[in-house]
């Protein structure tokens, strides 16, 4: 493992500082040099970077659907007024009355035909 950081500091902590852009120019140069010479260190950095991306994607995916749903859902229309419901009921009563009258008329015609 390359020891590119300050003396006494763990190399992994230095790698973290490098990844999070929390190190100074000198430390960054040492890190760049160590990463080119040490494939294991470069692999570790790549894995950490990938896991960071997965972490951000996982939690942004968790919070975005709720926001997206709010913005794309069509607005809910106003509830039906009482007048519209009453008109619908009147139409149903009229249709039932008409059906009853027609069937009564038909029965009257049939009864007359039989009687004659």
């Amino acid at each position: 493992m390359s020891d590119f950081g300050k003396p006494g500091q763990a190399p992994d902590a230095d790698l973290c500082a490098y990844l999070d852009d929390e190190c100074g120019p000198g430390q960054r140069r040492r890190a760049d040099s160590a990463l080119t010479q040490d494939p294991a260190l470069a692999r570790k950095l790549a894995v950490w970077r990938r896991n960071d991306s997965t972490l951000r994607a996982a939690f942004s995916a968790q919070t975005q659907p709720a926001r997206a749903q709010n913005s794309t859902d069509p607005p809910i229309g106003p509830l039906e007024s009482g007048g519209a419901q009453k008109r619908r009921m009147d139409l149903a009563i009229a249709a039932a009355f008409l059906a009853g009258a027609l069937s009564a008329g038909g029965a009257f015609v049939v009864a007359n035909l039989i009687a004659n």
Binding site: L15, D20, E22, V47, N51, L55, R56, F59, Q62, T63
Partner: protein, 182 residues
Amino acid sequence: MAARISSDTFDDQLEPDLRRFAQAVGFDAGQVACAVEGGLHRARSLQGAGAITREEGRPVAYGVIARAFLVHAAALHAAARRQTPASCKSARLAAVTVDQPPSSEVERLRIGLTSLPPLERAVLLLVVLEGLSYSQASSALGIGRVECAQLLAAARSGLALRLEPARARPPDSGRPQLRLVT
């Protein structure tokens, strides 16, 4: 001098981020609401006293949630140590269930996160998910900047240990092999 902002703007900007952080550390819905309100209240009260700027407000609010999480995790740990043999058995059963191979990378990530020590989890989420600097995360958690980097390195290594073996496996391993019967 940094600009001060109104309470409403401060809440609107911070609340979704605080909620995400509280969910990510592992709080349930009720705990998330309490923790977020606590964080906002603390930041608002400091702001009302004129002691807080926009830059200082975020770590203060995150710090309240992170500390609440650490206290909660410590209480859970203490309760687990007091468990009777019967409840230990159920804990072992739960652990077996969690150790089943998870189906997606996000699930593995969640399990990996919960397997990290609480302080490592909090540092990782503050820096990687919430984008706090090491100085802000350190002040939120009441630790030093070097300790912050060391905890972060331990958290990243722990998470890599949990995620990488699963990535190395072929994606279909573990699934039943289906054969077309004619």
